[in-house]
């Protein structure tokens, strides 16, 4: 079964030049929810408190996203930029 691993969708689509994405390591994430507090524009929490990143990161939110990456207690976030 499921012999072929697909990338996490958050990692899935190659990013076009200039696109920025906040990615969640699903295994590391423990649902602290700080990302949703800092970035309510692109992150909401599911019924169990785990983040759903519903859109790409607008450039103006980049500083806040960097903060989210730094304060995530389990270091489950990263920012990926298209080149």
């Amino acid at each position: 079964m499921m012999a072929t691993v697909q990338l996490q969708p958050a990692h899935g689509r190659p990013l076009a030049r200039g696109e920025i994405r906040l990615e969640v390591d699903r295994i590391a994430c423990d649902g602290f929810g700080m990302c949703a507090e800092l970035l309510p524009e692109i992150v909401e929490l599911d019924d169990w408190g785990y983040p759903i990143v519903h859109s790409l990161l607008p450039k103006k939110l980049l500083p806040m996203a960097r903060r989210a990456v730094d304060v995530c207690p389990v270091l489950a976030l990263r920012i990926r930029q298209g080149h």
Partner: protein
């Protein structure tokens, strides 16, 4: 089937009740492995054959081999032979390992030669004891018979690992994780196994059936492989067919064979009017109403166009007397328990979904259970490190579509149209607090 003379292929040779074909008989029947020279010739032949991976995802085998063979400069690679077969409705991998282990080992050696691998890891489900023993015996037979004049691929070292008995153990990254750290849980990708796998080396993870077909294609060529087949996807495949009595049978069929024909394959043919639905593709698959799907051809390309898949070759018939809501709840419960418990949405999402589904099955539903199910299915999708949650909610969504009226009968009218609640999953329904 329409061209019976073309089949069987993997199961050609001595009577199947005789058990494993010995190495001497295998070589007598098929000859030694052909030398493949540089690996790219065989890979081109695999491309031409159109052979798709038989682990469930259906990725083209030639392309997969090329991604490992054409890795950047660097020493070594590994071939991981995947016979974990964690899908409860699939039995074909263990049947193949039991009956024709040398086809699988031929394919593994060819793969090792083609991609330049130094090691072959045989990964067999720990519950499939007879299959693992057959494979182990086969490895010993070859070592004894081939001393001094081994096929190039057989220079690779071989080790046998027993995959833990859990659904996700056969997932590619989980298999690699187990070979590296004795932990059969999926890991976050990338890097994918073909980039960095067993021992940090590029690793080809290939299902046992795919490798067995490679052993035949290397001997007879891609046009031979493509002779059978009625539609776009050519060739043959193994399927596990489970009748309403719950007894699984493994068959080798021509691609393009219809569900109706498969229903007639067993000793006691499955009748359409005694069948309510068909589960295609196993616990990662979809429920389809018997009427709408009876003429469906098992042709991966055509099925893909309508959003269907046979997964690892699973066709399971649900009796018209069995409550489909109960059957689905059992599967949902199983899938929740089989979560590797790593990713929050999978752990909590599948548990919540299973509990709601069990309440509905027991006609004890809360008012918002059904609407929650639909929301949770959407929330969970695409949010695991592996595809376990996606597979589970895909099946659930198909149940809500196919059995909508029975689901609402349970939910709204607190009734069930079925007297007999027959089991599909090997787990008892659990009382939910």
């Amino acid at each position: 089937m329409s061209q019976p003379s073309l089949l069987p292929r993997l199961f050609a040779g001595p009577a199947l009740r005789g058990g494993s074909e010995p190495y001497a008989a295998h070589v007598e029947r098929l000859g030694r492995l052909p030398a493949i020279g540089s690996g790219t010739g065989l890979i081109r032949e695999l491309d031409a054959s159109g052979l798709l991976g038989r682990g469930g995802a259906g990725f083209p085998v030639g392309r997969k081999w090329r991604s490992v063979a054409e890795r950047g400069i660097g020493p070594g690679a590994v071939v991981l032979v995947n016979g974990a077969e964690g899908e409860p409705l699939s039995h074909k991998d263990r049947a193949l390992l039991l009956l024709r282990p040398h086809l699988v080992l031929d394919g593994a050696e060819l793969a090792a030669e083609a991609v330049g691998a130094d090691e072959i890891v045989l990964y067999v489900g720990e519950r499939h004891e007879a299959a693992a023993q057959s494979l182990e015996r086969a490895v010993a037979e070859r070592a004894k018979a081939e001393h001094g004049r081994r096929h190039a691929g057989s220079r690779a070292g071989i080790r046998l690992l027993l995959a833990p008995d859990r659904y996700v153990a056969g997932e590619e990254s989980a298999a690699v994780h187990f070979a590296n750290d004795a932990d059969a849980r999926p890991i976050v990708t990338p890097p994918r196994p073909y980039e960095r796998g067993v021992g940090g080396l590029p690793t080809l993870v290939q299902n046992v059936e795919s490798l067995a077909y490679v052993a035949l294609i290397a001997r007879h060529g891609s046009s031979w492989y493509r002779e059978p087949g009625r539609g776009e996807t050519r060739g043959t495949t193994l399927v596990t067919v489970t009748g309403p009595d719950g007894r699984p049978l493994v068959h080798e069929i021509e691609l393009g064979t219809t569900i109706a024909e498969i229903a007639r394959l067993s000793e006691t043919p499955v009748l359409q009017d005694e069948t309510q639905a068909v589960l295609l593709g196993g616990y990662f698959g979809r429920w389809l109403g018997a009427g709408e799907t009876w003429d469906t051809a098992l042709d991966p390309a055509a099925m893909k166009a309508s959003g269907l898949s046979i997964g690892a070759g699973v066709v399971s018939f649900l009796s018209a007397r069995t409550c489909p809501v109960v059957a689905t709840a059992r599967i949902a419960d199983y899938m929740a328990r089989q979560s590797a418990a790593q990713c929050g949405p999978c752990v909590f999402g599948l548990r919540s979904i299973a509990e709601a589904m069990i309440r509905i099955a027991r006609v004890e539903a809360r008012r918002d259970d059904l609407s929650n199910l639909e929301r949770w299915a959407a929330q969970v999708r695409n949010r695991g490190a592996c595809r376990h949650p996606d597979g589970a909610v895909g099946l659930l969504s198909s149940a809500l579509e196919t059995f909508g009226s029975e689901v609402s009968r349970h939910q709204r009218d607190r009734g069930c149209s079925f007297v007999e609640a027959r089991t599909m999953a090997p787990v008892p329904l659990r009382r939910v607090a």
